[in-house]
């Protein structure tokens, strides 16, 4: 009863939702890189889609509505479909279970683990605690909606926007050059 009260009164819904989405994101993330049941790239790709979708849930919690939409539309909708297409096209078999070199496994785990430890350690560094406690979740003055982002994008960030258009052109040319069936 108390729990439900808390949930209704003190922004508890957001907390619960955060926990749910975060757990989903991480779980699916783990399944992307290490799925105990299948080593097929397709499974990885599908879990990556799930990661992205649950992450867009987190985006919504952070009031980044436009990006949440873009995340689903562009990432899950376009990029991941591209991945799946390629996987189908190449007709990739399951990654054979080659015997993992123990040295690499341990070395990789240790170095990534230490990077993570340093990350977390810097998170709990004194400055940060102060910063985080003083600024409790501020009431959103700025909503991450299309209008606000669009304004910023076409005033402050026009130049990068244009450069990205060149980049897309280059990517297009590049893809055509690399995958054209026949180059005489």
């Amino acid at each position: 009863m108390e729990a439900i009260n808390n949930l209704i009164s003190g922004g508890g819904v957001e907390d619960v939702l955060f926990n749910v989405f975060a757990a989903l994101t991480l779980l699916c993330g783990v399944l992307v890189i290490a799925n105990p049941f299948s080593r097929s790239p397709v499974t990885s790709a599908m879990f990556l889609v799930l990661t992205i979708i649950s992450m867009s849930g987190l985006f919504v919690l952070l009031h980044a509505f436009f990006l949440a939409a873009v995340q689903i539309l562009v990432y899950a909708g376009a990029v991941m479909v591209l991945f799946l297409f390629v996987i189908m096209l190449l007709d990739l078999k399951e990654e054979a279970r080659r015997n993992i070199k123990f040295f690499w496994l341990i070395g990789g785990l240790v170095s990534v683990g230490s990077i993570f430890a340093i990350f977390i350690k810097s998170l709990t560094h004194n400055y940060f605690e102060e910063f985080a406690s003083s600024s409790k979740l501020p009431s959103p003055k700025l909503e991450g909606d299309t209008v606000a982002l669009g304004k910023l994008l076409f005033t402050q960030y026009t130049l990068p926007f244009e450069i990205v258009s060149v980049l897309l052109l280059v990517a297009m040319v590049g893809v055509i050059l690399l995958s054209k069936k026949k180059l005489e």
């Binding site: 340093i118 990350f119 350690k121 810097s122 998170l123 560094h125 400055y127 940060f128 910063f131 005033t155 402050q156 960030y157 026009t158 130049l159 990068p160 450069i163 990205v164 060149v166 980049l167 052109l169 280059v170 990517a171 040319v173 590049g174 050059l177 690399l178 180059l183 005489e184």
Partner: protein, 486 residues
């Protein structure tokens, strides 16, 4: 806001589009001329950047301070355009190795990469930094794997792609952390607030991760591992552009980031930079010693040269920054001379083994002389450009040692000189192969096109000019370095 500040960039992008379209209207056998037209246009732009009438050489900022035109950006823009011109010359000579239908695309991709470099030279906030570096990198993914009929080219492309994307991820995470703690994306504004975050670990973490991304671009230890493979596998003109353009873009961003955005942090990192520079020099030179593949050898040597250039960063003074600019200018001619010769001599051979250069002294005296001068300059022997650049770098380090009393600087000088002595062995191995090899298999003279001869002469003149009359470029470099502040 003065839009004409980006005149140079707009014209370069325009040129890229024109070159791409020109392909449609040109008969296949005349596509070499697309390259020459591009060279002519870039040459005009280069002249334009020196003329006072142009507005692209006016100092100022645009787009709310995210784009900056100052001494250093102008210096690097000229540098990049010159590099692109010479690379296009090399590409024109090499073009018969590409699939016929794709030659013009190659030129236009080079020009688009150039546009990315120009933006990088002017980037003054993290968004510009990220976007311009990605434009360069993604273009290079395509350029590296351009000879897709060759497995090596594709393999190099994939290696560059995965490691490049990895370093981008680190960099973007670093940018996120920096922005998150300070709330600033603009370098100039960041410099004002950075000192109060110096103790924040998460901020320092962000700065380090950005350094990882930039360290990858310049191939500095411990992010140097990709260089030899990619240099070896990529088509020779791409390798040339990678060695000079991409590396210089990394350096201009590194200088801006370290000395404009977070100078207060950088000043504490002398020791770190000393160690990185020293190890980079040793790694590059040691690995190059037993190397027989000439492109791979130059890959290792480019790691060593990144180490030398880092000397100037580690010195943390204006003299060091000036020396970097000067050294890069010399390196431009030297490296492009070497790759020109490699492109011309080895293009019809399957291997890049050093023995392909055997008998070059008789086959083509001009190319032999070009390669020799290039190697001698890389080895840092006076009176060529390479010597002078190294001298300036060492001098700046000695100055730093005097100013700070840090003994580590003297160790660094020693390391650098030891590296120079080691490098003699393999550079002179190349010279020896050119003139003094026993029974080369192929002794047919190499016919050179006028354009190739011109390029060779430009490179030779550049190397000698920078070595004999350093003052002219030194003044430019000194002016440019002033723009960085400290």
């Amino acid at each position: 806001m003065n839009m004409s500040l980006i005149g140079l960039e707009i014209s370069v992008i325009g040129l890229g589009l024109v070159l791409m379209l020109a392909d449609l209207f040109m008969p296949a056998e005349r596509r070499k001329f697309v390259g020459y037209a591009g060279i002519a246009a870039l040459g005009a732009m280069l002249l334009f950047s020196f003329a006072d009438v142009g507005t692209c050489s006016i100092a100022g900022t645009a787009f709310n301070g995210s784009f900056i035109n100052d001494g250093i950006s102008l210096f690097f823009k000229r540098f990049f355009i010159l590099a692109a011109i010479l690379v296009l010359f090399i590409a024109a000579e090499f073009s018969d190795r590409f699939a016929v239908g794709s030659v013009a695309e190659y030129y236009s991709l080079v020009v688009f990469a150039l546009a990315g470099m120009l933006f990088a030279a002017s980037a003054n906030d993290f968004v510009m930094l990220f976007v311009s570096i990605e434009l360069i990198t993604i273009t290079f993914y395509v350029l590296v794997s351009f000879q897709r009929s060759k497995l090596a080219s594709l393999e190099a492309g994939v290696k560059y792609l995965i490691l490049g994307a990895l370093s981008s991820s680190f960099m973007i995470f670093g940018i996120a952390l920096i922005w998150g703690t300070t709330g600033e994306l603009n370098f100039t504004k960041l410099a004002a607030v950075a000192p109060q975050f110096e103790t924040s670990k998460i901020f320092l973490l962000g700065v380090l991760l950005v350094l990882v991304g930039l360290g990858f671009k310049i191939a500095a230890f411990p992010f140097q591992i990709w260089a030899p493979d990619v240099y070896q596998g990529a088509p020779t003109p791409t390798t040339a552009f990678l060695a000079i353009g991409s590396k210089a873009a990394g350096f201009v961003l590194l200088l801006r980031f370290l000395f404009t955005a977070v100078p207060s942090v950088t000043m504490h990192w002398g020791k770190l930079l000393i160690i990185l520079s020293g190890i980079t020099i040793l790694y590059g030179n040691l690995c190059a010693l037993p190397q027989r593949n000439i492109k791979r050898l130059l890959g290792y040597s480019s790691i060593a040269h990144a180490g030398y250039l880092l000397l100037g960063v580690a010195a943390l003074n204006a003299a060091g920054q000036t020396a970097i600019l000067y050294y890069l200018a010399g390196y431009l001619f030297t490296v492009l001379a070497a790759f020109l010769v490699i492109a011309l001599v080895l293009r019809h051979l399957d291997t890049d083994d050093i023995s392909g250069l055997a008998g070059l002294g008789q086959r083509s005296p001009l190319l032999a002389a070009t390669m020799t001068i290039s190697m001698v300059s890389l080895a840092g022997i006076p009176p060529l450009a390479g010597f002078f650049g190294k001298f300036l770098l060492l001098k700046s380090v000695v100055e730093a040692a005097q100013a700070t009393g840090n003994q580590g600087y003297y160790c660094l000088v020693f390391t650098a000189l030891a590296g120079v002595v080691m490098s003699l062995y393999y550079y002179f191995g190349v010279v020896r192969m050119i003139y003094w090899s026993k029974e080369p298999s192929d002794m047919s003279p190499i016919a050179l096109s006028p354009a190739a001869k011109l390029t060779a002469w430009i490179c030779i003149m550049g190397i000698f000019w920078l070595g004999l009359f350093p003052n002219s470029v030194l003044v430019l470099a000194g002016e440019a370095a002033k723009a960085l502040g400290k």
